[in-house]
């Protein structure tokens, strides 16, 4: 549009001020985008990691109340169940880390692949998993974190079971959202029996894959009915529901952080708006002359607003880029130190970026509206009186 040159020239009038204002808006956008990535990141994890045909079966009383291992067989026989696998928390700590830093489970090696076909694991690796009793399949994220390779031996000390086990990594889950460490339940079973205990008679959880997503509810009902009056009454839920419950009640914490940060971002915007109006006030004389020459109120309002919008779009765009860069940086930090692990979960998704850009445009318009409107609306003669 023909006024573009005029608008840009005005922004260049006081470059430092434009830069500082732009910088403030950029930061406000970065803040808000980072915050939006928290729930967005969780949703993304849920969308990617959770399949719509997978069901979690656990004891109704709680995950720490396990189910008898034999129940797995019964579950497998339910109509519509394509595959089922029992999975028991090992709570193993990798020596160097000193505490549990990735989820590790004892699973049934013959069935795990069928329940997680969406996790990319090479067929030969799954075969090796069944062949070698001390084999382990590990998620790529965890492999990278510790620099492990296929064939490497790894020792985990259980914080839940009185054993320390030595494994050989035979496969990798080629996906960055599944940091799991899976090994053969027989191995744990043997180790326990060797200590004079009864062995691994329980299943912490049972994961089921339904052949048809429409049958999921029916399957869940049937499994719960089956267990109703037994020693271990079950509660089935979809994988998505299970994961979202698992992320826990951060509700209050998140609410406070979101509200306060939003307020801060808002105020930064307010300051930006004030700076914009300072600029407009300084130009009162010029604006009066423009109005006198014949530039109507709408045109003047429009150019002033466009100026604010242009600055904030650029600032917002930069903010979005900075957010992406920051989250990548955070993901790298997350691998340095286990305390920082959760930092890696700031995952920027496209919707968040789009939100960021819209926000900046909105901010620009908002910041620009009041001073622009005020300057444009005054009748010419008043503006001239004020200035001359």
């Amino acid at each position: 549009m023909k006024y573009l040159g005029f608008i840009l020239a005005n922004l260049g009038r006081n470059k430092l001020r434009s830069a500082l204002t732009g910088g403030a808006i950029m930061l406000a956008v970065v803040l808000v985008c980072l915050l939006l990535t928290m729930p967005a990141g969780l949703n993304a994890i849920l969308d990617h990691a959770a399949s719509n045909t997978r069901i979690s079966v656990h004891n109704k009383a709680g995950i720490v109340y396990a189910m008898p291992y034999a129940f797995t067989r019964k579950v497998r026989q339910v109509d519509g169940v394509a595959a089922a696998v029992s999975s028991t928390w090992f709570g193993g700590a990798f020596e160097e880390a000193g505490r549990v830093t990735f989820p590790n489970f004892a699973v049934e090696v013959e069935h795990i692949g069928a329940v997680y076909p969406d996790y990319p694991i090479a067929a030969e690796q799954l075969a090796d998993f069944q062949r070698y009793r001390d084999g382990a399949i590990v998620g790529r994220q965890t492999m990278r974190k510790y620099g492990w390779r296929i064939g490497q031996r790894v020792t985990l000390r259980s914080t839940v079971w009185p054993v320390t086990l030595d494994f050989r990594i035979v496969g990798e889950i080629a996906n960055d959202r599944a940091p799991h460490f899976w090994f053969n339940r027989e191995y744990l079973d043997q180790a326990l029996k060797a200590m004079g205990r009864p062995g691994l008679t329980i299943a912490g959880m049972i994961w089921v894959r339904a052949a048809d997503p429409n049958r999921v509810n029916a399957i869940m009902r049937e499994i719960d009915d089956m267990s109703r009056n037994s020693e271990a009454e079950t509660a089935c839920e979809t994988e998505k529901s299970f994961l979202s419950n698992f992320f826990g009640s951060l509700q209050g914490f998140v609410t406070i952080i979101l509200i306060v940060t939003a307020l801060v971002a808002l105020c930064i915007v307010f300051i930006a708006a004030n700076t914009a109006s300072m600029g407009v006030r300084e130009r009162a004389g010029e604006i009066a002359v423009l109005k006198a020459i014949g530039f109507g109120r709408r045109v003047i309002f429009g150019t002033l607003l466009a100026e604010a919008a242009a600055l904030s779009v650029v600032a917002g765009g930069t903010g979005v880029l900075v957010t992406i860069g920051l989250t990548k940086l955070l993901q790298t930090f997350a691998t340095w130190n286990d305390t920082l692990g959760p930092l890696g979960s700031f995952i920027v998704t496209v919707p968040v970026l789009v939100d960021g850009i819209f926000l900046s445009v909105f901010v620009g318009m908002l910041a620009g509206v009041v001073p622009s409107y005020g300057a444009a609306r005054k009748p010419v003669v008043e503006s001239l009186h004020e200035v001359f």
Binding site: L16, R17, L20, T21, G23, A24, L27, A28, V30, L31, L34, L35, K60, A61, G62, I63, V64, Y65, G91, A93, R99, V100, R157, S158, T159, V160, P162, T164, E231, E233, N245, F247, G248, S249, L250, Q251, G252, F253, I256, I257, V260, T261, L263, V264, A265, C267, I268, F270, I271, A272, N274, T275, M278, T339, L340, G341, P342, L343
Partner: protein, 392 residues
């Protein structure tokens, strides 16, 4: 010759709107920083304050937490008579065997949370003497009763005196509410240890043991005696150390929150800088005059920096007061703030903004002030008198 302090301060008063807005944005950053730091400090404090320096925590070797440890009846019976353990009036050892389970509880809003249920015997009240029954009474063993902490009460369906709580495999009658000095014990439910073991079908009757030492001198020897006992693979540590370790998982949150505060601070700094640059521009003539009169560049620089610092100080004071007020308000409005993911069970925490949190915020506001004010102050100082006066 230095400019009097009043020069800087009076200039702030001359443009009240501008000064208030800049101080205001700094105040907001201070509020954000203090509240956030306060949230996490409160979480840590809640966990750490469970630890009594006179107590020991005994768990299976290799366990890092109550819930994943197991202790046999035999081990308990052997340990309770070790030397160094304090005794009560009837000469019974203050040794509390405990079983920790984390069942699902249904919240009043229909959600699901893991809550820490601790199976205890009446001696637990003596070993954890910060725990006091504030309403009702302690449960009667074998009666399927429960006492709940202050943070639990009202949060879950049935968590009221006289009502029935549903968890595990049965229903438990709430007969008492307890206080624990604001520690995370208040987010727990206590029941009879035998009934809990039964309900959870535990092979081992206990997770661990809490001991009160007879005197500080006995602490080390007792710890060693337990660690070295060849019959049971057990590990003893100070209760304070145990809870300090548990609270470490909140450290990530510190980093997250400080990151947000710093970003917000930079944004505010840009805003403050902008405002100060405008002020310098508006006072060009004045600065030229001062320089012509003979005030040095350093003097001008300091004068403007002082203005910036004064603004941040005002911002800090407002922000500090507001954040303390807000934390009280949040306390009334939301009760406690629940943290669920940092520690596996839900911890209901009372938000309190403490001195260290405010110090952190103070640091941030000073940095904003000095940083944001530096550019403009430098520009003011470097102005050449002739040019400045000419522009006027």
């Amino acid at each position: 010759m230095p400019l009097p302090l009043s020069y800087s301060l009076r200039n702030l008063r001359a443009r009240p709107a501008r000064s208030v807005m800049t101080a205001g944005v700094i105040a907001l950053v201070v509020i954000a920083c203090s509240l956030f730091l306060g949230l996490i400090s409160s979480l840590k404090r809640t966990v750490v304050s469970c630890g009594d320096p006179r107590n020991l925590v005994v768990m299976r070797k290799g366990s890092d937490n109550d819930g994943s440890s197991q202790l046999s009846l035999e081990a308990f019976q052997a340990l309770r008579f070790f030397d160094g353990i304090a005794r009560d009036a009837e000469d019974q050892p203050l040794a509390s065997p405990e079983l920790v389970v984390q069942p699902f509880f249904r919240t009043r809003g229909g959600g699901r949370e893991n809550v820490l249920v601790r199976g205890v015997e009446p001696v637990a009240l003596l070993v954890h003497d910060s725990v006091r029954i504030s309403a009702g009474r302690m449960f009667t063993p074998s009666a399927h009763e429960a006492v709940v902490g202050r943070g639990v009460r009202g949060r879950y369906a049935g968590a009221e005196l006289g009502n029935e709580l549903e968890f595990g495999r049965g229903r438990w009658k709430v007969v008492g509410i307890f206080d624990a000095g604001g520690s995370s014990f208040e987010s727990e439910v206590w029941v009879d240890v035998r009934e809990l073991a039964n309900d959870a079908k535990r092979v081992f009757p206990y997770s661990g043991l809490r001991l009160r030492v007879a005197s500080p001198a006995e602490l080390e020897p007792l710890m060693r005696r337990i660690d070295d006992d060849p019959r049971y693979a057990l590990d003893a540590q100070r209760e304070t150390d145990y809870y300090a370790k548990q609270s470490e998982s909140a450290n990530t949150l510190y980093i997250l929150v400080i990151g947000i505060a710093v970003l917000a601070g930079i944004g505010a700094g840009f805003g403050a800088s902008n405002t100060m640059y405008a002020a310098v521009q508006a006072r060009t003539a004045e600065i030229g005059t001062l320089r012509a009169l003979g005030f040095s560049r350093t003097t001008i620089l300091s004068a403007f920096e002082i203005e910036a610092i004064a603004l941040s100080a005002v911002g800090f004071l407002i922000g500090a007061a507001a954040s303390i007020g807000l934390s009280i308000l949040i306390g009334y409005a939301m009760g406690g703030v629940a943290f669920g993911a940092a520690t596996f069970t839900t911890n209901v925490v009372t938000l309190r903004v403490g001195v260290s949190d405010l110090l952190g915020a103070l640091l941030l506001s000073i940095v904003i002030g000095i940083g944001g004010g530096f550019g403009p102050a430098w520009r003011a100082a470097r102005m050449r008198p002739i040019e400045a006066l000419r522009k006027a």
